[in-house]
Symmetry: C2
Subunit: 291 residues, 2 copies
């Protein structure tokens, strides 16, 4: 099938983890969520992560801090959770209110509990190809899709559009690593790239993570390319009750006929993120049990 | 001039640092070198770094540990130097004997004294574009060459051949950063790349760091490209007293006529490494004085 069903893949991962957690003797894995304020998107994301954890048998702990929380109070909570041996993973829901230093908060998390992979040390572990590091969930999810769908990156030309820390750069680093499910030739292009369409046309695998609706058009895509769409963009749509719909970074209707494989939006990369977070939490539990 | 004189640039940097250090009131910057065993190349490298530090007015401390040193003894020395407030930078000369865990030793160095930029946290800081991080000296030296020679990477297609931690990957991350002296479209290719010549031909700037003599041939280089040769390879040469000569990764004689700018080997990127180490040591001193 041409369409990559990220929803199904993420459900498979959740099922596998449910089995693995059920087989554990003793304490179950535990993830702590810190959410600051009542941003509706953040509330919804954390709820979804909480629900998936529960489904798997991972114990979720939810800490809801007020919008007015001070940096000291937030940091004290992180340090408390770092010290708590029953907590295996800690996630601070982004974005934080502007008076808080988000990267400093991520860097305060014990890197071995940093299941979101945002700690500077985990960024470094990706560069150094350390298998015990935590990789941020979206790029890890793309690699997982490739593994499970038999899409080999070996020797392929992967072109990543977008150089964000959380997606573009990290995926580029993963794809160029040594070893199976990697070994790709990798190009990173972005808003400053000249002749972007020409650069993207060289790709065997296109990863679109630039955050612009329908940015990747059919003329940029080589016949038979694999197209991975990371974009989640709201565009106005009066025909919808909400007044908008979600589209990716790829002009799906036009690109789909040329692609050998393609992820839809929604239902492609998006659902993988929560599944990979749970996989990271299970990994953290295992690494912590070992030591 | 077409030829990039890395030796001259590095001498300029040494002169500038000499002036800056002379102007400092109070304690001068201090770098500690740890060398294990008597590997002739390591002895020579450390001697050269030591001499350059002295020339600038940076205090060098040399710790020569025996080949048989245990990991515990090495780590104890690193921790002693971490705790010593008069030491601003620490360098462990690579390679270490095989019974020692080199990356663990690098990761034990206080990241704020890690002037070689090999600590996992400094690898992460490059990814996160943290200006207070330490960048490993060879890729930092290439950026410095570009700055000083007026070679803009903005919107250019940079192709890096080689994905080593110390050079290829780190340079790729620097070139794709946001901001001046960066903003490049970056491709990383390597031994597993298919159609490598075709990939390299797309480059406005070629960075060869694959460690194979004369690997980059004229047919791989676009007319007018900038060619940066990081290779340092020994090839047999009976006409030399030593029996060998040093060549780069680029077939210089054939490529030079096509290039708009090119670094020779020796005398190109090589001399930049020690100069950047000294720049990092001065930066460490400044950051530590501030805090």
């Amino acid at each position: 099938m041409k369409l990559i069903d990220g929803k199904q893949i993420s459900q498979d991962i959740v099922s596998e983890l449910t089995t693995e957690v059920a087989e554990l003797k003793g304490t179950k894995p535990c993830i702590a969520f810190i959410r600051v304020g009542e941003d509706p998107a953040s509330v919804s994301y954390v709820r979804q992560k909480n629900r998936t954890a529960e489904k798997i048998g991972i114990t979720p702990l939810l800490f809801e801090l007020p919008e007015t929380v001070t940096q000291e109070e937030l940091f004290a909570k992180v340090e408390e959770l770092n010290a708590d041996k029953t907590v295996n993973g800690i996630l601070i829901q982004s974005p934080l209110p502007k008076h808080l230093d988000e990267q400093a908060a991520f860097n305060l998390i014990d890197p071995n509990k940093d299941v979101d992979g945002f700690h500077v040390q985990n960024a470094g572990r990706v560069v150094q190809e350390d298998p015990d590091g935590f990789v941020s969930c979206t790029p890890a999810g793309i690699i997982e899709i490739c593994k499970r769908e038999g899409i080999s990156l070996e020797g392929k030309h992967v072109v990543v559009i977008g150089r964000s820390l959380i997606v573009g750069k990290t995926f580029a680093l993963l794809a160029m690593q040594k070893g199976p499910h990697a070994n790709a030739t990798v190009t990173v292009c972005h808003s400053r790239t000249k002749n972007l369409p020409e650069v993207v046309r060289a790709a065997d695998v296109v990863v679109a993570a630039i955050g612009r609706p329908n940015f990747v058009t059919a003329d940029m895509v080589k016949d038979g390319a694999v197209v991975i769409d990371v974009g989640i963009n709201r565009v106005e749509d009066p025909s919808k009750k909400s007044g908008y719909r979600i589209v990716g970074d790829v002009d799906f209707a036009a690109v789909e006929p040329k692609a050998s494989r393609i992820t839809p939006v929604p239902g492609g990369v998006g659902p993988m993120t929560v599944a990979m977070l749970m996989k990271n939490t299970f990994k953290a539990y295992q690494l912590q049990s070992r030591s």
